[in-house]
């Protein structure tokens, strides 16, 4: 029998350094890998354990996210028996507010209402900034085997696999080799690039009763419902926390370079297979589309495409989203071109990220660097002289 879980996705995530890509969309709605958005990954994990509901907490209105999720049917979240996507928008986390008075009581009640209604065995807390493909069934098995009350997911990494000013944390693992977690500390405290660490992926599973207990405590102390606050509460209560090691593909999406690298990682077959073919199938909103057409003049080297494109030019080491038109003699290298963009003849793009619906005029040239790719905002026009008119 499947395990009944309630899932809470905290999508009030740090996206300052991803602007302009996150100007009008939450991090969770960030397009990735030709045809996905980041939310597809946690949702696909939930889908694989046949979870039927999810509660989302987002700041702002989240139009792009709703448009993508719709009824949640893609991930099996639309069941008329106990299912549904419960969205809570315009959430402001206390940790981000100067004035705690604006903080609403509803925030805790919404969590309580959702979890109480689902009657789950477990509650899962997730986010969308840790691009990965988590086997929740394995996590649940680990949680049961350890007779654990609270388990968190980590990945072993070297410090230099994460950005210097990362806002994330490393777990303090017990030295007794018993998978026990004793706390966490900020990555910025680790200076040596070669140092190994246990990246706290900020994903947690806990029993319903423990969740409701912590929720009550969090409300009293006016704490945000986050994995880290819950780790603190567990440590305070002197209860054990177990760390579950994730060994699949992971990229922490924190800024433009890490977002760019995550996409480029997919052009490496090992990474691509690890993310898409070694764990859960990754499900995304189905779109009606025609196959992509490659013309007589197309030259393609190591590139990925979604359906519905027409390609007559040269595309190398790049990812091309849906409905992109690449004219002949246009050249795209080491770039990410999002949905609905149009590239005219003779244009040259290298180390560039085009957000949706960007129009590149004849002969326009734009070249960033691998470390600092140029990002062009949604609906912009790039003129032949290289001038960019923002959309």
């Amino acid at each position: 029998m499947r395990t009944k879980v309630a899932s809470i996705l905290n999508l009030v995530e740090n996206d300052e350094k991803l602007k302009p890509l996150t100007n009008r969309r939450p991090l969770a709605a960030l397009p990735f890998g030709c045809r996905y958005r980041l939310i597809d990954f946690p949702f696909s994990s939930l889908s694989s354990i046949e979870a039927v509901s999810a509660a989302l907490f987002i700041s702002g209105s989240g139009h792009s996210l709703y448009d993508h999720i719709r009824s949640g049917a893609t991930w099996g979240l639309e069941s008329s028996v106990g299912g549904g996507v419960f969205t809570h928008s315009h959430i402001e986390l206390k940790s981000r507010l100067d004035d705690s008075e604006t903080y609403t009581e509803n925030y805790y009640d919404d969590h309580n209402k959702y979890v109480s209604r689902v009657h789950p065995e477990y509650v899962v807390l997730m986010g969308s900034s840790m691009l990965s493909n988590i086997r929740l069934d394995s996590l649940i098995q680990f949680h049961k085997d350890k007779e654990s009350d609270v388990s968190v997911i980590y990945k072993k990494l070297k410090r230099n696999e994460l950005i210097d000013d990362s806002i994330y944390y490393s777990l303090a693992m017990s030295e007794n080799n018993n998978d026990r977690v004793e706390g966490y500390h900020p990555l910025t405290e680790i200076k040596n690039g070669d140092e190994s660490l246990f990246l706290n992926m900020e994903m947690m599973i806990l029993s319903k009763n423990t969740f409701l207990d912590y929720l009550f405590k969090a409300k009293q102390k006016k704490l945000d419902i986050t994995v880290n606050n819950f780790i603190d509460l567990t440590v305070e209560a002197n209860n054990p926390i177990y760390g579950y090691e994730y060994t699949g593909y992971l990229k922490v999406i924190e800024d433009i370079p890490s977002y760019y690298e995550a996409n480029m990682d997919m052009l490496n077959e090992d990474n691509f297979n690890a993310l898409f073919y070694r764990a859960n199938p990754v499900l995304t909103k189905p779109k009606n589309s025609a196959p992509t057409y490659f013309g007589d003049t197309a030259v393609i080297k190591n590139a990925q495409f979604a359906n519905d494109c027409e390609v007559y030019g040269t595309v190398k080491n790049s990812l091309i989203f849906r409905k992109v038109f690449v004219s002949k003699e246009a050249q795209i290298e080491d770039s990410i071109i999002m949905q609905d963009s149009y590239i005219e003849e003779g244009a040259y793009l290298k180390y560039v990220i085009l957000d949706k619906h960007v129009y590149v005029k004849k002969g326009a040239k734009l070249e960033g660097t691998r470390e600092n790719p140029i990002v062009v905002a949604k609906n912009s026009v790039i003129y032949s002289d290289g001038n960019i008119e923002e959309g």
Binding site: Y293, K301, N307
Partner: protein
């Protein structure tokens, strides 16, 4: 709420001339154009014409077809006031209701149509590749105050004897019907598309059944009966791309025509989209050794070889140094390394092992069946 029109898509035929491609699945479910199955064109025409109450009549090998159509949600047909319903033969007090012909299939589903109580019933075939606005034909039907309107297409006179042809008067009223005539009097071929006034058709079907004269087939029985009874039957002329992909060669050539970006079907037209059930799969991956020209590639493909003038459906894998030319590859096919495929149709989920050559000619297209394995080590030795 009243339903003005019910569309019945007849999708029960085997399509035996497609050989092994219709051994396990019905012809309307045969893959086409990389992302589609043949029936998608009729279903999308219905959706685009604003007809959303649709009966899909299936019979022969219906599993894949039924699964594909589902509740019609892929075509936006899962609304409160209409949806796609799969209609299959069933048994009742009167015995088993296997469909003996096109009109008989409708007779057997009178209950379904009556439940909707429509003014008009549109009869369509799930076998053809075309885009057509049935609403325009319905407007014409109403204007002519016809009890039956037949969709016709002018064909070259030398081909007319292969079709059922309609001989019309100056007002486009049909005065004579000839089934595959030696000496055709008209070049207007029936497309197998009919709009009937439902009360009239029902009366004919029921009355004749009561007299033990079954109206089995629309072409052979119903149209001649209507003509004898002086019903007003009009021809509605369709001009545009229309293809019956009833043979291996026509299925192949229709796919090759489909490849042309200037093709009349204009598959990328946002105002008349062809919908299908879209598989959830990964982006298409063209590696450093890939060479892809004049071809259509679909999501989920992994290509390390050379593809020229071909259609690859979703999730096709092509290994290094393999060359695919002038071919149609159906979904989930795995092609190894150093394979040569030319002028061929490769069936769904077939596996072509390293080094195999499959080379057809325009008059004799090579076909590999569904799930077939070609080459590799044989277990029998």
């Amino acid at each position: 709420m009243k339903t003005e029109t019910v569309a019945m898509i007849l999708a029960g035929g085997q399509g035996s001339r497609l050989g092994k491609l219709t051994k396990q699945i019905a012809k309307p479910a045969v893959p086409f154009g990389g992302n589609y199955r043949i029936i998608d064109f009729a279903l999308s025409n219905c959706a685009n014409s604003g007809f959303n109450t649709i009966g899909v009549v299936t019979q022969y090998q219906p599993l894949i077809l039924n699964n594909h159509v589902g509740d019609g949600s892929s075509w936006g047909l899962d609304r409160n006031n209409g949806k796609a319903t799969i209609l299959q033969p069933y048994s009742s007090m009167e015995g088993e209701k296997f469909f003996k012909g096109t009109a008989h299939a409708v007779y057997q589903n009178i209950d379904f149509i009556d439940d909707k109580n429509p003014d008009y019933v549109v009869i369509l075939s799930g076998d053809h590749i075309y885009k057509m606005d049935y609403q325009k034909m319905l407007d014409y039907h109403k204007k002519q105050k016809a009890t039956l309107t037949v969709g016709v297409m002018p064909v070259p006179w030398e081909d007319a004897s292969r079709f059922g042809v309609m001989n019309t008067d100056k007002t486009d009223r049909i005065i004579e019907f000839q089934e595959k005539p030696e000496n055709p009097k008209s070049n207007l071929a029936s497309m197998g598309i009919y709009i009937f006034d439902w009360p009239t058709l029902k009366k004919y079907l029921v009355d004749n059944q009561a007299k033990n004269r079954q109206l089995t087939d629309f072409g052979h029985n119903v149209i001649p009966t209507y003509l004898r009874n002086n019903e007003s039957i009009y021809a509605y002329s369709f001009e545009g791309y229309w293809k019956d992909v009833g043979t291996i060669e026509s299925l192949w050539s229709a796919n090759m025509e489909f490849l042309d970006p200037a093709h009349e079907l204009n598959i990328r037209d946002r105002n008349w989209r062809v919908f299908s059930k879209n598989p959830n799969t990964t982006p298409q991956f063209l590696t450093s050794s890939a060479k892809v020209t004049n071809s259509m590639i679909t999501d989920g493909c992994y290509i390390a070889g050379e593809i020229n003038h071909s259609i690859l459906s979703h999730n096709v894998k092509v290994g290094k140094n393999s060359v695919i030319k002038d071919s149609f590859i159906m979904p989930n096919v795995v092609i190894g390394e150093n394979v040569t495929i030319e002028k061929a149709i490769i069936g769904e989920s077939a596996h072509i092992h390293d080094g195999v050559e499959i080379i057809g000619t325009e008059d004799s297209i090579e076909v590999v069946g569904y799930d077939e394995e070609v080459g590799g080590y044989s277990d029998e030795n």
